[in-house]
């Protein structure tokens, strides 16, 4: 790694534009053979766009790629793979109803005389699985395997043939501690075998464990990198590069006064992964719920809003227990839930912006009476809220799909505000949006808390949890692993509880 050698992959001035946004702007990087190159950046920084281009999923708007010194352009993932670039996305590309072997050879089962022949497949499959250390039955249906095993199968599939470059998109995001360590060991082993790896992660400590070089992206731009000569695990430097601004500027904190209990959860059990959670949320405070993917934090919010089935325990809103919750009923009781996936649960993309803002809130917003809509008032209301949450451009008749992610997110926000509710649950409100849109979202949350609303912030984004919350519940494995308040809310204390280790000295008894 120390001697200068011809990079395996060289990317020059890569740019990708989408309507209304530049997702990737003039980014260059080089990956040496056997190097583990960590790609770092907040959600929406352009990491996904970059790897989609490298993987042949999307073409770049401009710029070029060189593989082993030769210019390449991939029209499809298949072409990329044939050239030796294999990508494992977060959404795995396995077919759950097929067996492990069938998945490994998906689309390239050997045939003889036009018929599929299975001779020799088990041996090949075994070899591929052994390489990644996956202990799974060859004839097991992939859907029946745990997530970590599926991930290994996917990596094994990616390495079949002659992969020179493996791209891993947050491979440990949904894995436990032990499984993560296994995966990191695998990455090290592959690197030693000469396979280059582009590794995306949000876990800074993994960089020190496996990384040779770090590239940081922000808002689609290359903002800096650390090489082998630098202190590669200089976390402060990396965080500064990623966020690009001083934390106190991004996270507003008006004086708040905590009031009465608005929402109380008692030993709540909910599908699929909440196993007995007790929490309380008061007027005038922002309470963070932190935890890794699969910790159950999102299901808590969804259960309160009737999107996940409550299987035990109580949900109490303003002193009254609510059962058989539906979104319609929750809204009527003054509880708004802002979904994490704005494309799937937030917006009707083909509909104009004004209709998305008043979606389901025509009555509460006072623009419909007895089922008849006052269209002039509707437009006026939509315009006012577009201004309030700062949606740009402010043309309410444009289709929602033509707005950038950040502005779409703000539309979901605007709709919730129409309800004038007392409890606001935000589920990953800033995923995939740029820093300025984030600032707008945080400002709205701060305004709500200041106005005496109970605000719940469910998030995987650690800086956001640290910056916004008055109190934090950290969840692990469907339970509350820690309850932190004030000074006790630190990166260390939250991170420690992510993996279930109780931080007793910092834990506060409710």
């Amino acid at each position: 790694m120390t001697e200068p050698c011809e990079p395996l992959l060289r990317v020059e001035n890569l740019t990708r534009r989408f309507p209304g946004v530049v997702a990737l702007n003039d980014v260059s990087l080089a990956v040496a053979p056997g190097e583990v190159h960590v790609l770092l950046g907040e959600n929406g920084a352009g990491k996904s766009t970059l790897i989609k281009i490298l993987a042949g999923v999307q073409p770049p708007s401009s710029g070029q790629m060189m593989l082993e010194g030769r210019p390449v352009s991939f029209a499809s993932p298949r072409e990329a793979k044939e050239a030796g670039v294999s990508t494992v996305f977060q959404e795995l590309s396995l077919v759950p109803t097929l067996t492990v072997t069938e998945n490994l050879f998906l689309g390239r089962l050997p045939t003889r005389g036009g018929l599929v022949t299975r001779r020799g497949l088990p041996a090949l499959a075994k070899e591929a699985l052994d390489r990644v250390g996956a202990e799974v039955r060859l004839d097991a249906r992939v859907g029946s395997l745990p997530r970590s095993a599926q991930q290994l199968v996917e990596i094994a599939k990616g390495l079949m043939g002659s992969a020179k470059l493996l791209i891993l998109d947050e491979p440990t995001a949904s894995l436990g501690d032990r499984e993560s360590d296994q995966l990191l060991a695998l990455v090290k082993k592959l690197s030693a075998e000469g396979v280059s790896v582009i590794y995306i992660t949000h876990r800074l400590k993994e960089i020190a464990q496996i990384g040779h070089r770090v590239t940081v992206l922000r808002d689609g731009n290359y903002v800096g990198g650390l090489g082998p000569d630098d202190e590669i695990h200089d976390n402060n430097r990396l965080v500064e590069l990623m966020t690009g601004r001083k934390p106190e500027k991004l996270y507003p904190r008006s004086p708040r006064s905590t009031g009465e209990e608005r929402l109380v959860l008692q030993e709540l059990h909910a599908a699929p992964d909440v196993n007995g959670v007790t929490m309380e949320f008061r007027a005038g405070e922002i309470v963070g719920i932190a935890g890794l993917l699969g910790s159950g934090k999102s299901s808590v919010g969804q259960a309160c809003f009737g999107l996940s089935r409550v299987t035990g325990g109580k949900v109490v809103i303003d002193g009254t227990e609510v059962t058989r919750i539906t979104p319609t009923m929750a809204l009527r009781r003054g509880l708004v839930y802002y979904p994490s996936d704005r494309k799937r649960q937030g917006l009707a993309l083909v509909r104009p912006m004004y209709a998305n803002i008043t979606l389901g809130s025509l009555g509460p917003a006072g623009v419909a009476r007895f089922g008849m809509v006052n269209r002039r008032k509707e437009q006026a209301t939509a315009r006012a809220h577009v201004k309030r949450v700062n949606i740009r451009p402010g043309d309410v008749n444009r289709r929602a799909e033509l707005f950038s992610g950040g502005n779409q997110q703000k539309a979901v926000l605007a709709r919730g505000l129409l309800h004038d509710a007392d409890i606001h649950i935000f589920d990953e409100p800033t995923v995939g949006i740029d820093v300025n849109a984030k600032a707008d979202v945080y400002r709205v949350m701060d305004d709500l808390a200041q106005a005496g609303k109970a605000v719940v912030l469910i998030s995987s984004d650690l800086p956001e949890i640290l910056g916004m919350s008055d109190r934090v519940y950290v969840m692990h494995d469907g339970r509350v692993a820690a309850h932190l308040e004030g000074e006790a809310i630190t990166e260390g204390s939250v991170l420690a509880s992510f993996f279930g280790s109780k931080t007793n000295d910092r834990e506060i008894k409710v």
Binding site: P327, A330, R344, Q345, V350, L362, V373
Partner: protein, 334 residues
């Protein structure tokens, strides 16, 4: 070298203009253009086409399809599909005629009871479609295919496969061939219904919710809309309008027929999609859908005048439908 560049630039501009024009067409639809072209072609080929009584003919013939297409549109906007409209027309026709002919005297009370029975059975079909789609999450394509078979079977069973006669003369004279203020009664009914559908779609919460559910059912649910109720309402409105069309058609042919209306399934979807209604839900304008019905009406009338065989007509309609759907896909991909 420089010539190459110049040629290249010229080509890009031409390409740009071409694609801009193409996008415009995709936005407003090719429909108005095609309609004008078609009218001109028919007018030139057959002078009788533009005669006043032929135009009135087109109107009279299109009324039934118009009602059913608006019905179909309501369901399509929810990203669903109703294949049972044809069978519903048949069943409604048979039930209406049977009820009317079985009421002694055959006066106004027979007409009212017959219409009520027809509407009732139509709404029942819609209720079954809606409830099964909404609560059991069965694809509407499958459910309505099932109710198609049930309704067709029931209509044939009840009528023994023969036309049901004995309808009061007053019924067919008024609602079938009647004229009020110089306009055929069925046309007046269709215009009133079109106004009502317009109001529902654009000025009521229900209409908004229909668009929202079709645009993104998950988002609609999270926004607090009772998605199941909206779906059931849409299927009920669809079957109600279809039943109305079936009743008017029964008056027109002066008998109950179990074979009535089979062509409406294909034609209503074709007309709605031709008018820019998206098969993926959430998109569609009533004005353009009405134009889609006019298009189909003019097309079949013109072909009739030119003595195009009905076999060829069927072939042409199929080509038109596939072209309309292909255009819908192109628009979705954009």
């Amino acid at each position: 070298m420089s010539a190459d560049i110049v040629a290249g630039t010229a080509q890009t501009t031409a390409g740009g203009l071409h694609s801009r024009l193409f996008n415009r067409l995709l936005e407003f639809g090719l429909l108005p253009v095609l309609l004008v072209v078609m009218v001109v072609v028919f007018a030139v080929a057959e002078p009788r086409f533009l005669a006043m009584d032929n135009l009135e003919n087109i109107g009279r013939q299109s009324v039934y399809l118009l009602l059913i297409t608006m019905a179909q549109m309501l369901v399509l906007l929810c990203a669903e599909l109703d294949l049972s409209v044809g069978a519903t027309v048949a069943l409604v026709s048979v039930i209406t005629a049977l009820t009317m002919s079985s009421v002694a005297g055959g006066g106004t009370s027979a007409i009212i009871l017959g219409v009520a029975a027809g509407l009732g059975v139509g709404l029942l079909v819609g209720l079954v479609n809606g409830v099964v789609v909404a609560y059991l999450k069965v694809p509407s394509f499958m459910v309505t295919l099932g109710t198609t078979s049930v309704a067709t079977g029931a209509a044939l069973l009840l009528s023994n496969g023969a036309p049901v006669t004995g309808i009061p003369l007053a019924f067919s004279d008024t609602w079938g061939t009647g004229v009020f203020l110089g306009l055929p009664v069925p046309i007046i009914v269709a215009v009133l219904v079109a106004v009502a559908v317009y109001v529902v779609l654009y000025w009521t919460t229900l209409g908004r919710n229909i668009y929202a559910v079709g645009g993104n059912a998950d988002a609609a649910k999270v926004a607090g809309i009772r998605v199941n109720w909206v779906l059931i309402s849409a299927f009920l409105l669809c079957s109600g309008l279809t039943a109305l069309s079936g009743i008017l058609l029964t008056a027109r042919v002066a008998s109950g027929e179990a074979t009535l209306g089979t062509s409406f399934v294909l034609l209503s979807i074709a007309a709605a999609v031709l008018g820019g209604t998206s098969l993926f839900g959430g998109e569609g304008r009533l004005g353009l859908v009405i134009l889609g019905v006019v298009f189909i009406g003019v097309l079949s009338n013109g072909m009739n005048l030119l003595r195009v065989s009905s076999y060829v007509q069927q072939l042409v309609i199929g080509v038109v439908l596939i072209s309309a759907v292909a255009l819908d896909r192109l628009r979705a991909r954009r």
